[in-house]
Amino acid sequence: MSILEERLTAGTFVVTAELPAVDGGGLDAVRRHVDPLRPWVDAVNATDNTAAHAHASNVAVAIALLRLEVEPILQVVCRDKNRLALQADIMGGALHGVENVCCLTGDDVTAGDEPETRRVFDLDSPQLVQVATGLGQGRYVSGRTIEAPPHLFVGAVENPFTHPLPGRVDRAWKKARAGARFLQLQIGYHPERLGAFMVEATRSGLAARTAILPTICLLPGARGLRFMDERVPGISVPAGTIERVETSSDPREAAYDLALQQARHALDLPGVAGLHLVTFRRDDAVARLLTDLSIPPHAERLPPNAHSPALVHP
């Protein structure tokens, strides 16, 4: 059983983080990003061609994380590969001991730097969750049996910040019914929407069935916020929020304060099982953020989680 699964099922507060995309530089490049995170996070996401840009592959990076003794979460997106290749990636990672799998639809190819490429979307994300769950239960989509199947801990992503807002909990439920045990939420700048999502997720029992991790994004300044607003699909940033950071005497510090406020807000909501952090290469800010939130390093975190109960086994 992965550390992530063990902790979430026990009701221990969990922190995960996204590894910045890796290109050149070999394992040392991975190590440089991982070292500042290591004391603080329980597991690290190996991303799958983020924002539709080609990088070192999700499976290769997940295996690199294992070699560096950090627990990986294998992100798998539906954009680039058909169901045969997606199953092969999950099984390939599992062969090396990658148990956590996070299933996403994926940004469209038009969001990336090779918009002329063919988009695949042979599966959608709820289907991919179901397929990954099936692999863990010992069968491929075809029905072919897997002898000694891998133990998998399957999760997904949901975006509580975009339309249709009332439908987002329903869609998260669909993923939970397909086997998602954790949900890392999309980055967002409308705290009231996150609040409404968590209240409904808790009321409907979703938060007790699948561990929900709001995402906190540590940006270096206002330019990053503007970029998110204009370029990243599904993320809108209110003009006032950008302006507040932009007109501050120290935009870098103002961007940090924004992240800290967002995290404090998230921790006050019901049903929050942990936090997911996206650092945009501000890896050093993780220690500061968690210290400011009074969240101890992962070795010192014990159940029960003050914010959310232990997961119910489905």
């Binding site: 940004d107 042979d122 994300s125 709820p126 975009t162 339309h163 249709p164 869609r171 809108s236």
Partner: protein, 127 residues
């Protein structure tokens, strides 16, 4: 047999922009064809919907799944159709592309799934 396909496309093309996937799910998606979503998502909207409700891929087009969501609430659909909205629809069988979904409905071919896909188990009781 191509006649049936031609008739089906002549009827469903102009109304729903039918793509002839051969496994029609319009009744459970608020009478909105999910194959017109640029990502061909059959299980709800992606996370990329724009703040104005338009599509991530085609900024001038309203998100297909937002339309589906609105129509599911608004149209006088059979209650059972409405309840199937949140069912997990199986992956597309690409072999059926171009065939008549009417024939596939009658023969049951459109409900065949691979052995590894769990049997359709709606999460809500049937009417």
């Amino acid at each position: 047999m191509a006649l049936l396909e031609t008739v089906e496309h002549a009827v469903k093309g102009p109304i729903w922009d039918c793509r002839m996937c051969g496994q029609c799910v319009l009744h459970s998606t608020g009478m909105t064809c999910p194959m017109t979503c640029p990502k061909t998502l059959r299980n709800g909207p992606c996370g990329g919907v724009r703040e104005d409700g338009n599509c991530e891929v085609v900024p001038t087009m309203r998100c297909v799944w937002l339309k589906a969501y609105d129509r599911k609430e608004r149209l006088p659909l059979l209650p059972s159709w409405r309840r199937h909205f949140d069912d997990l629809r199986p992956p597309v069988d690409n072999r059926l592309k171009g065939t008549s979904s009417w024939r596939n409905l009658v023969t049951g071919r459109d409900r065949e799934t691979p052995d590894g896909w769990p049997d359709a188990a709606p999460h809500v009781a049937e009417v």
